[in-house]
Amino acid sequence: MSVAAIIGAACTNYYELPIETPIKAKLDVGAFQRVLVAGFLAGGTDDVDGNLETTRLLRSQLRTKSELRVIDADVLPLMDVAASDRKADAGTPLPNPIKDDKDLDQYQHVFADAGYWKKVGEEYQQPLIVTGTVMFTSRAQTQMQQREQEVFDTLGRRRTVAERRLVERKGFGLTGRFVFIDGRTGATLHSQNFTESILYDANRQTPALSSYFELMDKLIPNFLATLSSQKIKGTRILLN
């Protein structure tokens, strides 16, 4: 650092101030008064019902953090809807249950079925419809870990050496997308992909459901930011 910079820094007064940064909603939902979280195409591990849990969680989040009125309704069986579409097309039967992304891809056509979504919209007074896909899968990974190891030489002097070893880590991954559909027309307004994962020490026993909520916690702010303006609280340093 130059002398001038040191003097400059020494002479600078600073003031830490709280600020609220406004974030505009990504989607203009002004035309809607209600929102229907319809249900999700879900797959992966059997330990968590991705359809039910995601629907419940998003409804409760929207109830407290958005101005839209949340419609309480039965969760739509989207897998069945997609499967019956396929039967009508006389295509091959869809994989059930959904185990991986390849299986899931075969169901994705349901979101493009504007006629179906328009019908759902008519049933619930043309709300904004939230749907999408959720893949919750278990994951395992071997990672290189470095730690300091204490060793003593022949004279009994202590020193530390870096020890690198491979460790087994286990956890879960959550991928998918949120799809926002106009209940008046059945057309997709917006869709956003997400992917999150979490890994723990292999000997740690973490229930799948708590990992699911931990991962959803990371996604929720971005989901809510799509529908409503938000203010992010923080602090900044003003200088003089």
Binding site: A5, I19, E20, I23, R236, L239, N240
Partner: protein
């Protein structure tokens, strides 16, 4: 002769009556300080006006750009905030406060662009 005397007298009066040449940095500092005071009261628009004035007075004063960036951020004007932060860092690349503010800003900005 008379004209010259009058002109000389006017010049003298002018010199005496004119304010001392403004030191841009001091004026900018004053504006920045005013801005901080009103920002502390939550009057961010007012604060922005002072900091905008400060950078006009002294376009080499990094703290003015830093504060201006924060003001824009508070108003949700992200593009202007980014430009002001970048200017502040260009003027004072080693200032840890500016760097820290900019990192926090980028984190929010990236999230909104996801």
């Amino acid at each position: 002769m008379q004209v010259r005397a009058i002109f000389g007298a006017l010049l003298l009066v002018g010199v005496v009556a004119a304010p001392a040449p403004a030191n841009e940095r001091d004026d900018a500092k004053t504006q920045v300080q005013f801005g901080i005071r009103v920002a502390q009261l939550g009057l961010w628009r007012e604060a922005l006006a002072h900091w905008e004035r400060a950078v006009k007075l002294d376009p080499t004063y990094a703290p003015a750009y830093n504060n201006l960036a924060i003001g824009y951020e508070q108003q949700g004007e992200f593009e202007k905030a980014r430009n002001a932060y970048e200017k502040a860092l260009e003027l004072n690349p080693n200032n840890t406060y500016i760097k820290q503010n900019y990192e926090l800003f980028k984190e929010i900005n990236d999230r909104t662009n996801k």
